[in-house]
Subunit: 258 residues, 2 copies
C-alpha cells in the first residue's frame, strides 16, 4: 500500500454494495458513525472506500450534518486487487470456528467458501444464530474491509459432501486435507501450474470412509499439512497460504495511487 | 495420526515437563482434572501424554483415588514429530493478538518466537498481564497440546529490533514481511533449499525507515504475502505455512503406533 496508508493505524476500507459518485449516509448508518467516531473525520477528510466486487476509491467528506448524516464525494478510483482463484470446501465447524474462518478467508480473498454438513460433524452447528441471522455476512464484510480489498467470497451451505461437490465449478486442482490417510503434502499434491484450486477441510473428527470414497470418485487428491494437528481455522489459513505461494498466486501489493 | 486418534474428538496430548514411567497427579493438578472430567477416564483408560521437547507416549490410568489424585503408568513411547526449523521475529502486538500467535505458532511447531518492541508499536503492550503472569506460557502449552506434538517454542522479548536480531542464531534465509516496500513475494524470496528460515513481522503501522535499514544491513530480504492486508495473526500463520510448503518442511504425519 502507498504512503498514505502507511501513515495510519489500521485504516480499513469502508465497503458499499453499489458504486457511487456522491452519497449521503443517514445518521443510522454504521459506516457514517465509523467515519465520525473512529476516523474522527472533519469536512475535507479523505477516506478509503470500496465497492463490493468492484473498484476501491478515495472519497472526501463533503458535509457532517448536525443530524448525524455524512456526505461523501468520490475523488479517485482504481481497480481493487483480484480475488484468489481458490475455493474452500469445509465441513461445517462450531460457530466460533466458523466466525474466524469467515473473517480470515475473506481477508485472504478466497473466491468462495462452501460449507457442508459432514458425516462426523454436529448437525446443531447449522442452527446457530451465526447462520440464521446476518452475522455470517457481517464477518465476511469485516474480513474484506481488513484486507483493503473489495471481494466478498460467495458462501454456500450444502446438506452433505456429495451435494457440495456436485455444485462446484471446474477447477484445475482439487485437494482434500486429511491427516489420517494422506501420504503426500499439500505442496507435493499441487500441480505448479494450477490456475484454480479447491481445498476441502473436514470436521475435527475427520472424514468418514464414505466421504473419502466420494473424494476419490470425483478426482480429488488427499494431502496433509505436516505432522502436527492444527485447529480447523489455522489449517484453513495455512492451506490457503500454502496454495497461494506454491502456485504463485500472490501478486505484488498494489501501490495505491489514491 | 492412527486409528485410535480418529475415533476421538479433539484428543489432545497432555504435556509433562519431565519424562516419567509412573506418576501420581495430585488432586490439585489440572491435568488430573482433565483426565477425570474431560476424558472421563476410568481405571484402565489409555491417554496420550507428551514430554516437553522429547517423546510422546501412551499411558494407562492405574488408579483414580477418592481424594482426586490420578495415577498413570506409561505403556509405550515413540518420538514426537520434529519442530519446524522456522523462527519468528514479531513486533510486539496487542495482547489479544499475541495470545493467538503464541497458540497458533506453537501448534505449527515453530522453533522459536522472538518478540521485540517495534518503533511503531505500543510500549504498553509489554506491560500486559499476558507477559507479567505465566499466561504466555500457558498459551504455548495449549498450542503444543493441540498439535499432538511435544515441542514448546522458545520465546524471548527484546527492547528493539537491533537487539533482537543480534541475539538470533545463524539461518539460511531471513525474510522481513513488508507490504509497503517489498517487490517480491515470500515464495520468490525464499531459496528452495533453505534448511532454516527466520521470518519477521512488523507492527500494524509497519516498519520505520530505521528498522528497514537494520534489516538491509543484516542481510534480510523484504517480501510480501500478496496484495491483501492481513491481520498480524493471520499473516503469521500464512507465512509459516508458505515457508513450510516452499521449503518442503512438511513431512508426512506420523502414523502413531501407540
Amino acid at each position: 500500500m502507498g504512503q498514505l496508508l502507511g501513515q495510519h493505524t489500521a485504516v480499513n476500507i469502508i465497503l458499499f454494495d453499489q458504486p457511487f459518485e456522491r452519497l449521503r449516509l443517514e445518521a443510522s448508518d454504521p459506516r457514517g458513525t465509523h467515519i465520525r467516531q473512529v476516523l474522527r473525520a472533519e469536512v475535507g477528510t479523505k477516506v478509503f472506500v470500496g465497492f463490493v466486487n468492484a473498484d476501491r476509491a478515495r472519497a472526501e467528506v463533503l458535509a457532517l450534518e448536525p443530524d448525524g448524516s455524512v456526505e461523501l464525494q468520490v475523488i479517485a478510483t482504481e481497480p481493487a486487487p483480484a480475488a484468489l482463484p481458490v475455493q474452500l470446501l469445509i465441513g461445517l465447524p462450531r460457530p466460533h470456528t466458523a466466525k474466524r474462518i469467515l473473517f480470515e478467508a475473506a481477508s485472504m480473498a478466497v473466491s468462495a467458501i462452501h460449507f457442508f454438513e459432514a458425516a462426523r460433524g454436529e448437525p446443531s452447528y447449522a442452527q446457530s444464530s451465526l447462520w440464521t441471522s446476518n452475522e455470517w455476512r457481517e464477518r465476511l464484510r469485516l474480513g474484506t474491509e481488513q484486507s483493503f480489498g473489495t471481494h466478498i467470497p460467495d458462501v454456500t451451505i450444502a446438506p452433505d459432501l456429495q451435494t457440495a461437490i456436485s455444485q462446484l465449478p471446474v477447477a484445475a486442482a482439487r485437494i482434500a486435507l486429511d491427516n489420517y490417510e494422506a501420504g503426500t503434502s499439500l505442496g507435493q499434491a499441487l500441480p505448479v501450474d494450477a490456475g484454480s484450486v479447491q481445498i476441502a477441510l473436514g470436521p475435527e473428527r475427520g472424514w468418514s470412509p464414505e466421504e473419502r470414497d466420494i473424494f476419490r470418485k470425483n478426482g480429488w487428491k488427499l494431502a496433509h499439512l505436516g505432522p502436527h494437528v492444527l485447529r480447523t481455522e489455522t489449517a484453513c489459513t495455512a492451506a490457503v497460504a500454502a496454495v497461494a505461494t506454491e502456485v504463485g498466486l500472490w501478486s505484488a501489493p498494489t501501490q495505491t495511487a489514491l
